[in-house]
């Protein structure tokens, strides 16, 4: 993909993150005020609520989309900051490969967790 394509993807990822991270913040960090999508009641981070959300198709899919969009947006943003500092071309290429590798590993870890958690026992 060319530079402007990457930039457009960066902006699109920002919009996706805004919507899905906004939902995450309302559900998890504003649970005392809104108390939505926590079927067992109480804290959104109580195990019963976490496992029920983790087993729902909606949260599994949106979690993976959010993970990918946030990692792309975050690492592309970090790459932009590094490039603004004016490194040489070879260094720029090295950073791009490094950030791509780290982002890919994190995406695999997060996606594996989002899928593997669906088989975890609800109560142990």
């Amino acid at each position: 993909m060319n530079k402007s394509g990457n930039w457009i993807l960066f902006i699109l990822a920002a919009v996706v993150v805004f919507v899905l991270l906004g939902l995450h913040m309302v559900v998890v960090h504003l649970d005392g005020i809104f108390g939505i999508l926590s079927p067992a009641g109480g804290s959104a981070l109580a195990w019963e609520n976490v496992i029920q959300r983790s087993k729902s198709n909606f949260f599994t899919v949106t979690y993976i989309i959010l993970l990918g969009a946030a990692l792309y947006h975050g690492f592309y943003g970090l790459r932009t900051i590094i490039f603004e500092l004016g490194p040489r071309k070879a260094v720029e290429r090295g950073w791009t490969i490094f950030l791509l590798a780290v982002g890919t590993v994190l995406f695999i870890v997060g996606t594996y967790a989002a899928i593997a958690v669906r088989t975890v026992e609800t109560a142990l």
Binding site: I81, A113, A116
Partner: protein, 144 residues
């Protein structure tokens, strides 16, 4: 002596001091600082939240540890950074897409400045971010 790639390149110093800038220039700095901070947290958060695959016996002690004031303060900082970065990001996207910029005009006196539109936009998004931060802090301090 080797010539610098950019003669007027201020590097990180340019984030905080490089000329007589408007407040939007400092929002640029803050947008980058909060962005890097959120990214660092997010990388840790992926591993911390992935521990739910080990079940309730692992999850509950980790969540109990998160009630320590240090982690609560960290959560507050992340929420503040998120609220600012998200709302300021919306402002930047609107401007990037050509909204609030105005139509191109001949530079004829009296000059028209898009700042008359962009400054109220900046103030509006900062007020919304402030209200969101207030909501988050009320939840974190009184309702968590």
């Amino acid at each position: 002596m080797e010539k610098k790639r950019y003669d007027n390149h201020l590097e990180l110093l340019g984030w905080v001091a490089g000329g007589k800038w408007g407040i939007e220039r400092y929002l640029y700095t803050l947008h980058r600082i909060t962005g890097v901070g959120i990214l660092l947290f997010f990388m840790i958060h992926i591993f911390e939240s992935s521990t739910r695959i080990f079940g309730m016996k692992v999850w509950d002690p980790i969540m109990a540890a998160m009630h320590h004031p240090i982690f609560k303060m960290g959560e507050a900082l992340v929420f503040i950074a998120f609220a600012f970065h998200a709302l300021n990001g919306i402002r930047l996207i609107l401007i990037e897409l050509g909204f609030m910029v105005g139509k191109p005009e001949q530079p004829v006196y009296p000059y028209q400045s898009s700042l008359n539109v962009q400054r109220p936009l900046m103030i509006t998004v900062m007020i919304i971010a402030g209200l969101l931060i207030l909501l988050g802090m009320v939840d974190l301090i009184f309702l968590a």
